[in-house]
């Protein structure tokens, strides 16, 4: 009898743990699906960042949960109009991406977020901060290219940075377009490792290229 009880308990536990993993995948999927539409409303983006952070803290060893938490947080930072709050948000994103980084070191996707965080800090005062954060953003972007040459996202970031840099400083559509084209080519062949791995950016590239055509 005792044996039976133990077996049942073990079975139950295994079902529970199996369903936990299901739960993780389901929760991640539904939150990831909500990201694109939340760009229209920064408050939703913050809500998603918090959702991902809860998942990450509960799971403790899923780098993707931390990754998406940082991704939502830094985009929220880009959208924040009150520049006095930007640094705090970027710092929060840094804490999250550092946790992802310790779980999955030298990851190209993580380097992309680090590059975005540096750009976010730079946005607060581009003239004064260019030397420090511009360099940091570039270094991380180059790391991302090296860590996974098939990843289109660092090329998107590079193209995007160039597009918003004044022509006199070596930016503008002329220099941005080849980078964006590279990103687009890489998107065509890029295969995400799983349903949960990042795939974002293709629409953004197309949008930027369209803006350049006009």
């Amino acid at each position: 009898m005792k044996k039976l009880f133990l077996v049942t308990l073990l079975t139950a536990t295994s079902i529970v743990s199996f369903s936990q993993s299901d739960k993780y995948i389901a929760a991640m999927k539904s939150n990831i699906a909500a990201i694109d539409s939340s760009f229209r409303n920064p408050a939703n983006l913050l809500g998603l960042a918090n959702n991902f952070e809860r998942i990450a803290n509960a799971e403790k060893n899923q780098w993707l949960a931390y990754y998406y938490a940082a991704y939502c947080q830094v985009n929220y930072g880009f959208m924040e109009q009150d520049k006095t709050k930007t640094d705090g948000i970027a710092d929060k994103a840094t804490v999250l991406i550092a946790k992802a980084d310790s779980l999955a070191p030298k990851n190209s996707e993580i380097s992309c977020i680090k590059s975005m965080i540096a750009s976010c800090h730079m946005m607060v005062n581009p003239m004064q901060r260019y030397m420090q954060y511009g360099q940091e953003s570039t270094t991380n972007m180059e790391d991302a290219m090296e860590q996974d040459p098939t990843n289109p996202r660092p090329y998107l970031l590079k193209g995007q940075n160039l597009k918003y840099t004044p022509e006199q400083f070596g930016g503008g559509c002329k220099t941005a377009t080849p980078e964006l084209q590279t990103a687009l080519n890489k998107f065509a062949t890029f295969k995400a490792a799983s349903d949960l791995h990042p795939v974002w950016g293709k629409q953004r590239v197309e949008q930027l290229m369209n803006e350049c055509k006009q």
């Binding site: 139950a12 739960k23 809500g47 918090n50 809860r54 803290n57 509960a58 022509e167 070596g170």
Partner: protein
Amino acid sequence: MKRILMLVLILGSLSAKSQVRVTGKITDTKNKPLAGASISLKNSYDGATTDSSGAYSFLTTEKGEQTIAITIIGYATAEEKIILKGTPLVLNIALKELITELKAVVISAGSFEASDKNKGAVLNPIDIVTTPSANGDVTSAFKTLPGTQQVGESEGLFVRGGTATESKIYMDGNLVNNFFYSSTPGIATRGRFNPFLFKGTVFSTGGYSALYGQALSSALILESKDLPEKTEADLAISVIGAGGGIQHLSKNKRSSWGVSYNYTNLWLAFTFIKFKQDFYQVPVYHQGDANFRIKTKNGGFIKYFGYISANKTGFRNGDIDSTVLKDAFAIENLNTYQNINWKERIGNGWKINTGISFSTNKDDISNELQDGNNQKQLITSSSLYASKNFILNNKAKYAQARFVLEKKLKGLSAIRFGSDYFYSDERSTYTLYDGTKFTQAIRDNLFAAFAEGDIYLTNNLAAKIGGRLEHSEIVNKWNAAPRLSVAYKFPDNSQASFAYGIFYQNPETKLLPAIASLNYSKATHYILQYQKISSLRTFRVEAFYKQYDDLYKTARNNIGRDLAAYNNGFGYARGLEFFWRDKKTIKNVDYWISYSYLDTKRDFLNYPTAIEPSFATNHTAAFVFKRFVLPWKTQFNLSYNFATGRPYYRIAYDTLQKKYFTSDAGKTINYNSMSFSVNYLPNIGKKNPRTFAVWVLGINNVLGQNQVFTYNYSNDGKRKEAVTSPSKRFLFIGCFLSFGIDRTQDAINNNL
């Protein structure tokens, strides 16, 4: 048994389906709703984010005792134990705001900061080199800020009715004794150091920290750069000389070293620009410096800076006591300065900052009386003219050691304390026309101890309370100087601050040896400030009152030198200052305006009574305008300095009554000067440029306005002569190149 199992299963499925709603509101301690706060049930996915009214709501399937955590940027994380029993739960929580650098009030009364990082900064380091009237001189840019006087005939910062000797300059915490090149009569010299050495500067016009002393008026605190971004070489060529240097960053980016050399020769400038003085030895300067910087394991820093310079100048001026004779003045100077500093975190929130510095200075000065053919006039009997032939040799050694311990407390609060030791040894030999030599040696050992606390009560209210004790061998007494600053931030992010402090200073060497035993001279500052800083605009207004006590009065000794004799001098300075900087209103334009009103009188040195000192004036204003024209890759800078006329006096000595008296007085014309500069940056926008060039064209006093700083009197008082700037205008053309050293070579070498 089966039944039990069934029961377990039913219970299990029940628990899986029964959800509990948790709702509530998150506010700050003042009951203001907090939007965007994250509510999470620990170790579960369940939680929510507060909406704009601070409200949240979520469902959870968790049971029993759980921990709920609330986090939001800028506030302390709150954790609450809750018990989930199947009934809806309401949980309202008030969060405490964290005291953070980003939000906290800045204690800023009396000080201007130039840095990239700190939010209280009024200037950034680039401003120092792009302000046209500054000519790339570290201290001159500060003359476009309120509080300083436009004194053109001698170097130094004259702050709020104080003399230049009342301003002290520190580099990484260490006093720099000969910050400016040695004085020459009637011509202001420049600061010795290249402004690009520094990443941050704090210019305090009063009420400064207990960490600094021996300056009645002002402290200029310079902080040297950390590691360079990359290995770089630079080259500068201009109409006044050439120089070059290299900064090398190690591969692991944890240490760097650098050396540079500069050669300045004003020969070319002198052939094209007319100078009032007849320079028979055009100024020639050799200057070299070296540094290393090491980042330690715990994020600390070791920094070394060493400097050496040798220079000489010689010029003739018409002698004021005669119509045909000339004075030929010559100076040769050799100066060295070295400092090494170590900053380190030593655990438990403690930090140590310690440093030593050592410097030497040697001046060989001579003055000759010459006739119309520039021949030396030898006069052998004692007379007024005979005294114009002299030689003065000065030799000085200075050393300093200091340490500061700092302990971080809650929030931004901190306490720090430490000690300073200064050694100075100044020797001079004065050789008269007949070869008679007078020698003197002034030595001092000055010991100081200080303690200071930064107290942040909330993000809106902070205070800095400190004190300093000093003992100088020359005065042979202790002094105790309390310091206090308080700052309060208003809801619109503007802030008001107040500062109070007592400051003591020793007599300057030229007044020593004292005729009688002396006490320290003393100043008491009261400063009230209001300022509003946003990222693109700065407004500040400051009112101050400064009381001077125990100023040194001089008496004439038996060989006619004026030496410190009494401590009964006194004075006051009071004023109102405005500063406005705006980068917003006009696109691509950055301008600032400053205005100072000063009312000051003092009785010191040989003044017969309390009078408005000759280095002060009532109204001073400056306007600086910078515009970057992107398509032309060019920045245009303009500055205009204005000051009302300064008083001048002929103070004579009545040998019978043994008293000083004013035999003549007047006021100079108003001071006006407009300077203009253009910086052209052709490599901007080039992709990974190997070289980066900056071309500079600068013209001082573009309009050639007549500037009179003061008047010199002949010995009999019958003649007076205006002291003006040495040339009407000055033109500077130069090119600064920097080369980022390509690392491909390194990579190849490493792989072989």
